[in-house]
């Protein structure tokens, strides 16, 4: 497996043919009327997103304290299976969703990025808990990465230390909404359909003083200093 980002040249995608109705042109009332007559009308995009959003397989990957709450979300009381995401896959090759559940240390960060690169598209990332978002209570530590979004793109942030299992479920529902709204064609097509956007990210090295590079400028830029 190459660690370099995809080097496929950006190819402009053909615009959708004129006169072909785009997805979702029929009003909800019309659709409901047809449904009462036994005709279920949908677009391929909607069907595809409906299926995808209801069977998100997370990577079975616990980092720290939040992982215990992630396991609790999978047990009978909270039952993540209600949302179709109970199949935790230990292999990144079979996973759709990476839940970064806990503190990412500088020793672990290269491995998290490598796992992300090994996951097939379409893939999503949830940063669960304060540590994964920003370093959390351990931010001042010399060995703690100050947020996983410095290295890989994050779709959903769940604050908390640790977040309750309900919060994780809420994050999952937000992700489902995001997936259901994704476009497969056109200028605002989803990330995974666009060949010009990378699927793999450079893996930082565990350097002498810090990660090298410490952040990926393609996904994260430092916030602007407050204007005087």
């Amino acid at each position: 497996m190459s660690d370099a980002p995809q080097s496929t040249p950006a190819s402009p995608r053909p615009a959708p043919a004129e006169g072909f109705p785009a997805a979702g042109n029929i009003s909800d009332a019309d659709r409901e009327e047809l449904r009462r007559h036994g005709i279920l009308l949908t677009s391929l995009e909607e069907l595809y997103n409906w299926g995808r959003s209801n069977s998100i397989w997370p990577l079975q990957f616990g980092l720290a304290c939040c992982a215990i709450e992630m396991i609790a979300a999978a047990t009978a009381r909270f039952d993540i299976a209600r949302f179709g995401a109970e199949i935790f896959r230990p292999s990144p090759r079979q996973a759709d969703l990476m839940i970064v559940s806990g503190t990412v240390t500088k020793k672990m960060a290269p491995l998290v990025v490598r796992l992300w690169n090994q996951m097939p598209e379409p893939k999503y990332c949830i940063a669960m808990g304060a540590c994964a978002i920003s370093g959390g209570p351990f931010k001042q530590g010399y060995n703690v990465l100050k947020g996983i979004d410095r290295l890989i793109p994050v779709d959903i942030y769940i604050p908390g230390c640790p977040p309750r299992p309900e919060a994780l479920l809420n994050g999952l529902i937000q992700l489902q909404k995001q997936i259901k709204g994704e476009k497969l064609t056109g200028p605002d097509a989803a990330r995974h359909t666009r060949a010009d956007l990378p699927s793999e990210y450079p893996i930082p090295a565990y350097g002498a003083h810090d990660l090298e590079p410490a952040k990926n400028p393609a996904v994260w830029t430092p916030p602007a200093p407050p204007s005087a």
């Binding site: 980092l63 215990i68 240390t105 530590g141």
Partner: protein
């Protein structure tokens, strides 16, 4: 395979009437390939977090095993040296994130020793109640995870987490947080439980043996479980003592060493309970010991609810703001669910500790992992690791 292994094999085959000698070596060379190095983790469902084992295998047999850790080193000790004494209390929650209550207590013990702080009776009883409830959570979850490692994917864990949720709900009602309770203070506890809380906790504790019976009916006599755990990962007591092992791993080898009895910290000398001991020191004993310890914890809890006195929960002389203990050093320790959990503090009279050091039981219990795994298969290593009971937050700190 080493030279002595060949000699053993020769002797064994000679006993069965086989010519042995050089022919064994020839057969070995024919059928045995090179040694294989397998790296398990840090992303592996059975390494209980971000732990990594580098195992060298001959066929499926482990001939060498190197634990690699540090993937969750989040500078607990260094951060605590730059924080006030009370400011590190929430960090101790995140040390052993399954047992925040008893980790809090260990830290409070060390600081109280340092500053000579007294603790009122009611707080002492509440601390014992919280510590024993934590032990129930930890051991129930551990047994669930152990069966995960044995291959019964998830079902026993569902039962364990059902009970955990009940206790966690109590912790949440009391402290406001499910896992990170931040409950103990220097000189007492933070919140006084209401009579309703105590009644709910008492009901839970009285029903807990029923859960244990149900659990044991399903698991203890299971034939696969017996085959996979009996005689696996045996640890002899002398070795365990030499390596400084503590807690259930040590007691499963038959060494009677429980700080609740030996050290008598808190009000434990007032309680009537037994310390279960193992005989073989194998994985089965380590499993069984946890079940028996849970039964003893229930006994302690029943006594604590019965004898819980009234009165304040904080010593009136306790100082929380601008807390500066005199210069000196102290080591506070207690019998955590995983073993001896200690905090060593040096004070130089400033609001921050000069040195803050944790003695993590799971890191020290891990040191004999290779000893226990040698000669067993790689699948057994996973089970042995599960029976040691590690939490990476504590191992790496």
């Amino acid at each position: 395979m080493s030279c002595s292994d060949f000699n053993d094999l020769d002797a064994e085959l000679t006993a069965f009437g086989h010519p042995g000698g050089s022919s064994v070596r020839a057969v070995h060379d024919q059928f045995h390939g090179d040694l294989l190095e397998v790296s398990m983790g840090p992303q592996h469902p059975s390494t209980h977090g971000v732990f990594r084992m580098v195992a060298t295998l001959d066929g499926e047999q482990i001939v060498k095993l190197k634990p690699v850790f540090g993937y969750l080193h989040r500078n607990h000790e260094k951060i605590a040296e730059n924080t006030t004494y009370l400011g590190s209390m929430p960090y101790t929650d995140r040390l052993d994130y399954l047992c925040s209550m008893s980790t809090n207590w260990a830290y409070a013990l060390a600081v109280e020793k340092l500053s000579g702080q007294a603790v009122p009776d009611r707080a002492q009883y509440l601390r014992i109640i919280m510590a024993e409830l934590t032990r129930l959570v930890n051991h129930a979850c551990l047994v669930g995870f152990l069966f995960n490692d044995l291959g019964t994917s998830f079902t026993p864990l569902l039962y364990a987490f059902r009970e955990r949720e009940k206790i966690i709900d109590l912790f949440e009602a009391l402290s406001g947080s499910r896992m990170m309770c931040n409950y103990q203070r220097f000189g007492g506890c933070r919140v006084d439980p209401t009579p309703e809380w105590l009644a709910a906790a008492r009901t839970l504790v009285e029903n807990f043996p029923r859960f244990l019976d149900e659990y044991e009916r399903m698991l203890t006599g299971n034939e696969i479980m017996l085959a996979r755990t009996q005689g696996i990962g045996r640890l002899d007591p002398a070795h365990a003592v030499n390596a400084g092992l503590t807690g259930p791993v040590l007691r499963a080898s038959g060494v009677d060493y429980d700080l609740r009895k030996v050290d008598g910290y808190g009000f434990y000398p007032r309680f009537d309970f037994r310390v279960p001991l193992g005989a073989q020191g194998d994985t089965y004993d380590r499993y069984m010991l946890r079940i028996l310890e849970m039964r003893e914890s229930v006994k302690i809890l029943v006594q604590a609810f019965r004898d819980l006195p009234g009165g304040p929960i904080m010593d009136p002389k306790a100082k929380l703001r601008s807390f500066r203990p005199k210069a000196g050093e102290a080591y506070g320790r207690l019998e955590g669910p995983k073993g001896e959990l200690g905090f060593y503090l040096i004070s130089d009279g400033t609001p921050n500790p000069y040195r803050y050091r944790v003695r993590p039981p799971s890191l020290i219990n891990l040191t004999l992992l290779e000893e226990m795994c040698l000669g067993h298969t790689i699948a057994d290593a996973v089970v042995i690791l599960g029976s040691i009971d590690i939490v990476l937050g504590e191992v790496d700190r």
